[in-house]
């Protein structure tokens, strides 16, 4: 069988083209291409070379339209045993091609050519074309003459013209030879035999039969020559004769041959025409050709030779001409016929032809199937050349089986890109990738093909192809391959790599699978913030302000990574995390892996990774951007198994997508135990010019700052510019939790240090105050540490951080025309203040204690705090510190004095000193003197609490009483009582509460409990809440004065000064009053009671005074009265004007010495709302009883 046959093949003159001497292959190809232009020589063109020696047998030669056709066979071919049967199989001419510069001796060339021609006995014309001869050779060659044709060196056009002439000459010579042959055959006849004819001696009957047949065969052969001579009409005439004769003699084989020739003649005659009738005719005749070939099958010859090849050839010839369905039938028939072919090379040719025909039909899979058969036949030959052929054929099938090498895919897609539009192409590419995912499920077939490619590549000695096939096999089908098989492939990979030069690249990646894991954000120390020229305070809003780490407004969709943008800085190393997976059963060593960046402005650093069996690993790949501009990262370049490959993230993404949809065998990452990762896409990365880089350091060590609760301490933070650009702008703000623990930071020091040159350093102080433990712990449990790149630094996330926004100078863009000022982004430095708060003094409880010490009745009125306390006490404070102590003056008493008792315990192992201070604020602004004392503080002596001890600290609440009980405090109460509208009452109640709370707060804020421990640490207890709770119920009592104040006084001597002008005098008074203040028994003791109205209204009341003895018995009235009385003691009706006092005098006569108690009571009539509110009573009728504090009277003397 012959490859590439068609119906017209019968009309082609076969010409062997032989290289003579040394001809470089490239030149040979060049010369051949020149020859191939002359496959058809028109008859009209050769007439000038043609001389009619005798009458031409080709009577009907179409000199104006016909042509001679050539089929050039490079390297020639051995003579076919079927030459007699089909004359076109003969080599009818030989053309030698000689490249003169490489073959200097022309004589030798001629000899060589003649020797080569000996092998082609059937050749009628022989010519040797010698190209590019030298001058001497030209001279020499002209002498040689004969068949040697010299082509003098000239430009290509001239050479082509020259060649054309030569070819026309050859054509004319051939035509003349054909004529000669035909004339001879017609006259003498020839004996034509085929291998099909019986080789054994013929019986007489057969001899007769053979003689009869001979004529028909001769006619058929003459027809062949007519056809070769380009005269289809003559050919047809001879074929018709041959048909009849062979039909008569039953020479079916030749009948079929003649019929085939006649069809060819028909087509040549009607060349260019194509109509249904012709097609039908051709089809009909060819079917009968096929039938007759089949008929000519002789059983006895079957083992040796069979006409089946001709039948199949005829089938293929027809198939090549036909379309679609019929072709399929024909090809199917041809494929079925393959089994009966004896010669395997025939079968090879048949399969090649079938595959090619299916390919032209668009039946890719069929073509691939037969190509594979071809490859298998090649592989059966077990030699290297056949293996190379097999490899090439298999490479053609890979497309249909979707296992092609990426190299071939990208080549074709590039070719497409050049022609097609970009967008349509990209969608197509996407589609292709999806389709390939689907089709990758034909794993049974695909693996077989890849395995065969591997086998043939190994046999063909093509290590790169072997590597690529093994890589594809391993990468795509590892789940279907046993661990042993995987190991085999791995060793195939390394064996192939051993034969490859180092640094070989392959388009097909092998292992591992690589996907993008994440792009780590800039570390907190070098975060980059965009800034715009429009805003001076570009830092505002750029930092996560407020308590939330994530704000939906400041950031876009966090999941939408495609919009994510990254900024890298020239010269600053960056990192990218990728995940590698080795799902195979062998340990994988990745010799080097680094980021593959196509934009060329990135230096990546390779790393070496070892991946054990069935494992995945996240690794960090780093690099340094080298110049400004966008950076695109497609994947990684991997050096593994001795070959460098490019692993694209996109491919793996597709693979994982396919795995998710169940299209791909398995997800390599999941089978390695790695979790499912959200699809990470490569963000837009842009590189900006160098920026300044501040590095912070906490002076005195970067460890956590250990503080006790409430401790206040200064820390110094040193900032150094580690970049190459000065810092020109800087701004400090706070972020994170517990921001109020930073009391102050000296941003002005930083500002004054600007611009901070590279390498310069500045130190700024920060004042910290430790927060209380326990309050924030609950928050941390809820807060995810993963979300906060900001809060990542602190383990418990409670520490505040200083945010320092800074930026370098503005730079001019390189473009001189625009002269545009480019604003480089600013940076943010987060200085975490790692504060570790230790438990300090712990607060146990707060209590409000009231202390009631009755006053003694003396000659002076008890100092009424409400009345003149502010003035006098303020003076005392400023004069003597001792006075800060709370002294209980026996004549003064302390009725209603309240103390706040704080119980503190010290669970730590240090000693704390507690000092309480009360800040006095003059709440009554009417008092003109108050200005000086506004910020006056009451200090109390320190209380020391040893470790593991607890102590109580008393805070007197004596200085807080308002001087006047006025309505303002109860304004809201009035409303509530007066207008009983529900809504307003609720509202007013709220108001009241708020006011109450405000006053409590005001009160509390004035009380400060400071502690000190050792020399360095000091702080303040935050016990506001506790005090608040303790005071809540009785704040009114603490703050508000009683409506009435009562006081008793002995009226003994009126000469003594009542006013307490100076302190000394007062002290003396106090001391002396101990003796003076006593009352003698059996003496009339004149006394007076003083009632002061603390309200702004007139109070009408009925005052009564009772005197009790030690036993509590009323000793004024009753039978056993021990005190005699002069004056009125009960039912004294008086009206006290607002803020005035009224005195009422009386005299007592004590019969028995001892202790007596005087108590004044007042029954207030017509009490107003304020009074009722103060007394906490609601009913209008109930009289309000005002009880004064008890006063003691010590009566001395003898009974």
């Amino acid at each position: 069988m012959e490859p590439d046959v068609s119906i017209e093949t019968s009309s082609m003159i076969r010409v062997a083209v032989l290289p003579i001497g040394e001809v470089p292959s490239s030149l040979m190809r060049d010369y051949l291409s020149m020859l191939l232009r002359h496959q058809a020589i028109p008859l009209s063109a050769i007439s000038s070379f043609y001389t009619e020696h005798q009458k031409s047998p080709f009577a009907n030669q179409p000199w104006d339209s016909g042509s001679l056709r050539f089929k050039f066979v490079l390297g020639g071919a051995p003579p076919s045993p079927w030459e007699d049967f089909q004359s076109n199989r003969k080599i009818l001419a030989v053309i030698g091609i000689c490249h003169c510069p490489s073959s200097p001796d022309l004589g030798f060339v001629v000899d060589q050519f003649n020797a080569a021609c000996k092998g082609y006995s059937s050749a009628l014309v022989e010519r040797c074309f010698a190209f590019c001869p030298g001058d001497s050779q030209l001279e020499d060659g002209s002498k040689k003459g004969g068949n040697l044709m010299l082509f003098p060196p000239a430009d290509r056009e001239t050479q082509e013209l020259h060649l054309q002439t030569m070819m026309q000459d050859i054509a004319a010579s051939l035509l003349m030879e054909f004529e000669k042959w035909v004339l001879q055959a017609e006259s003498t006849g020839t004996i034509l035999k085929t291998p099909l004819d019986s080789q054994s001696s013929l019986s007489s009957e057969e001899v007769i039969k053979a003689k009869k047949r001979r004529l028909g065969r001769a006619q058929k052969t003459i027809g062949d020559y007519c056809l070769l001579a380009g005269s289809p009409v003559d050919a047809n005439a001879h074929y018709s004769t041959a048909l009849e004769l062979s039909r008569l003699t039953g020479d079916f084989f030749w009948l079929a041959g003649a019929m085939e020739g006649s069809v060819c003649a028909l087509l040549i005659d009607r060349v260019g025409q194509r109509d249904a009738v012709l097609e039908e005719e051709v089809r009909y005749r060819y079917h009968s050709v096929i039938v007759h070939y089949r008929k000519s099958f002789i059983q006895e010859n079957a083992q040796r030779v069979s006409p089946i090849t001709f039948e199949l050839e005829a089938t293929l010839k027809l198939a090549r001409r036909e379309l679609a369905k019929e072709v399929v039938d024909l090809l199917t028939a041809a494929a079925d016929g393959a089994k009966s072919l004896i010669d395997s090379s025939d079968r090879l040719i048949l399969y090649v032809e079938i595959a090619r025909l299916y390919g032209t039909l668009g039946y890719d899979r069929k073509a691939a199937f037969f190509s594979r058969q071809v490859a298998q036949l090649y592989l059966q030959q077990e030699n290297r050349l056949a293996a190379i052929s097999a490899l090439q054929v298999l490479a053609l099938t890979t497309k249909a089986y979707r296992v092609q090498s990426i190299a071939s895919v990208s080549k074709s897609s590039f070719a497409k890109k050049e022609t097609g539009s970009g967008h349509a192409d990209s969608t197509k590419m996407l589609h292709q990738s999806v389709v390939s995912l689907f089709e990758s499920q034909w794993s049974t077939l695909q693996m077989v093909v890849l395995r065969e490619i591997l086998l043939s590549a190994v046999r063909a000695g093509d290590p790169l192809a072997a590597w690529s096939a093994a890589a594809r096999l391993l990468r795509s089908y590892y789940p279907l391959i046993t661990p042993a098989g995987q190991n085999g492939l791995a060793s195939a990979l390394s064996n192939s790599a051993d034969r490859l030069p180092s640094g070989t690249r392959s388009a097909d990646p092998a292992l591992p699978f690589i996907r993008l894991h994440s792009f780590p954000l800039h570390s907190l120390q070098m975060d980059i913030v965009k800034r715009s020229s429009a805003r001076e305070d570009w830092w505002a809003g750029s930092a996560p302000s407020g308590p939330f780490i994530y704000t939906p407004f400041s950031k876009g969709e966090p999941n939408n990574n495609s919009k994510q943008e990254l900024t890298w800085v020239v010269g600053e190393p960056v990192q990218v995390l990728v995940e590698l997976a080795n799902p195979c059963g062998f340990d994988l060593r990745v010799d080097s892996i680094y980021l593959s960046v196509s934009s060329g402005n990135f230096d990546s650093f390779p790393v070496t990774v070892d991946l054990p069996t069935n494992s995945s690993k996240v690794i960090t790949l780093s690099g340094i951007p080298t110049s400004v501009g966008p950076v695109t990262i497609h994947g990684c370049t991997v050096h593994c198994f001795g070959v460098i490959t490019e692993h694209l993230f996109k491919d793996v993404d597709n693979l994982l997508l396919g795995a998710m949809q169940g299209l791909v065998l398995s997800d390599p990452f999941r089978c390695c135990g790695s979790g499912r990762l959200k699809n990470v896409s490569v963000p837009n990365i842009s590189v900006v010019p160098p920026l300044p880089l501040l590095v912070s350091r906490i002076v005195g060590g970067d460890g956590a700052i250990i503080l006790h609760e409430g401790e206040i301490r200064d820390v110094w933070i040193s900032l150094a510019n580690a970049g190459t650009v000065p810092v020109e702008q800087a701004h400090i703000s706070l972020s994170g939790k517990n921001q109020d623990s930073v009391l102050s930071f000296a941003s002005e020091i930083l500002k004054s240090a600007l611009p901070l040159k590279p390498g310069a350093e500045v130190t700024i102080p920060v004042t910290l105050k430790a927060w209380r433990l326990g309050l924030v712990d609950a928050d941390t449990a809820g807060g995810k540490s993963a979300t906060g790149s900001i809060m990542r630094h602190s383990k418990d996330g409670n520490s505040p951080a200083l945010l320092i926004h800074y930026s370098g100078p503005l730079t001019n863009s390189g473009d001189p025309q625009t002269n545009e000022i480019v604003i480089p982004p600013g940076r943010r430095l987060v200085v975490p203040l790692q504060i570790c708060v230790l438990q300090g003094l712990s607060f146990v409880k707060a209590r409000l204690l009231s202390m009631e010490i009755p006053a003694h009745v003396g000659e002076n009125l008890p100092k009424l705090v409400q009345v003149d306390g502010h003035c006098s006490e303020g003076a005392i404070v400023s004069n003597n510190k001792m006075e800060k102590l709370v002294k209980i003056d026996p004549f003064r008493g302390s009725w209603g004095l309240r103390f706040l008792e704080l119980e503190l315990s010290n669970p730590t192992d240090v000693i704390f000193d507690i000092s309480v201070s009360v800040q006095l604020e003059n709440s009554s602004n009417e008092d003109g003197l108050s200005i000086d004392h506004d910020a006056a503080e009451y200090g109390y002596p320190k209380t020391r609490i040893d470790r593991d001890c607890s102590a109580r600290v008393l805070i007197p609440l004596e200085h807080f009483k308002l001087p006047i009980l006025d309505a303002s405090f109860f304004v809201k109460d009035d409303q509530a009582d007066g207008v009983a509208s529900g809504r307003s009452s609720v509202f007013s109640e709220k108001n009241t509460k708020a006011e109450l709370n405000a006053s409590i707060k005001n009160l509390i804020s004035r009380i400060k409990v400071r502690w000190q421990s050792g020399l360095s640490s000091s702080g303040e207890l935050n016990i506001k809440d506790a005090i608040h709770a303790a005071l809540q119920t009785s704040v009114m009592d603490v703050l508000l004065p009683d409506p009435l104040t009562f006081g008793f006084r002995l009226l003994r001597s009126s000469s003594e000064p009542e006013d307490l002008g100076s302190h000394k005098e007062y002290t003396a008074e106090v001391l002396s009053s101990a003796s003076k203040g006593s009352v003698l028994a059996h003496e009339i003791t004149p006394m007076e009671v003083m009632v002061r109205n603390n309200t702004k209204d007139m109070i009408k009341m009925s005052l009564s005074i009772t005197c009790r003895d030690v036993a509590g018995e009323n000793c004024v009235e009753g039978a056993k009265a021990t005190v005699l009385l002069a004056g009125v003691l009960s039912g004294i009706t008086m009206e006290v004007p607002p803020l005035q006092e009224i005195k009422h005098s009386f005299s007592l006569y004590f019969l028995i010495p001892g202790e007596y108690t005087l108590v004044a009571n007042a029954m207030i009539d017509d009490a107003n709302d304020i009074l009722r509110a103060r007394a906490r009573t609601d009913s209008l009728d109930e009289p309000i009883l005002c009880r004064g504090p008890p006063y003691h009277v010590r009566v001395v003397g003898t009974a």
């Binding site: 679609a324 369905k325 399929v328 199917t332 494929a335 079925d336 299916y358 668009g362 039946y363 890719d364 899979r365 069929k366 199937f369 999806v434 389709v435 689907f438 089709e439 499920q441 034909w442 049974t444 077939l445 077989v448 949809q661 169940g662 299209l663």
Partner: protein
């Protein structure tokens, strides 16, 4: 005798291939099924040649190969059913009938809420049902 049935998905991805021969010729049958997709594709793309009506799902004999004949059937969702048989002369109605039952079985299989469209059919019920249908194919033609 039916040697192989196959379901091929919309994207020419195999969903189900089952051979009913004892011989180890799975690869060959895979190839036959794979190659038959060429013919199916051609018939789908050139509907004029494919059959009398547009809505015909039965594609008829796709091609004869070696000892086999390959029949095809195309659903509205472009899922292909392929039948490879060794019987060289089967009645058209038998094949149509076979495909109808095949289709019903397929529809039941993919109606399973746990079936992911586009994934291979792994249902045992479907496999059992298919083998019953295949077995009854010979019988019904005999009757």
């Amino acid at each position: 005798m039916i040697v192989c049935v196959a379901v091929v998905g919309h994207q020419n991805n195999p969903l189900y291939i089952q051979s009913f021969t004892d011989a180890d010729d799975a690869l060959k049958l895979h190839h036959i099924v794979h190659c038959s997709l060429d013919v199916v594709g051609e018939r789908v793309n050139n509907p004029k040649k494919s059959g009398p009506t547009l809505n015909e799902t039965f594609l008829g004999m796709l091609y004869p190969t070696e000892n086999y004949e390959v029949y095809g059937y195309l659903t509205n969702t472009k899922v292909k059913f392929i039948l490879v048989t060794t019987d060289l002369d089967v009645r058209d109605t038998d094949v149509r009938n076979f495909f109808r039952r095949f289709h019903a079985a397929y529809v039941d299989a993919v109606s399973n809420p746990f079936h992911v469209p586009g994934k291979k059919i792994t249902s045992k019920t479907f496999a059992e049902r298919m083998s019953t249908i295949v077995k009854s194919f010979g019988l019904s033609s005999a009757v």
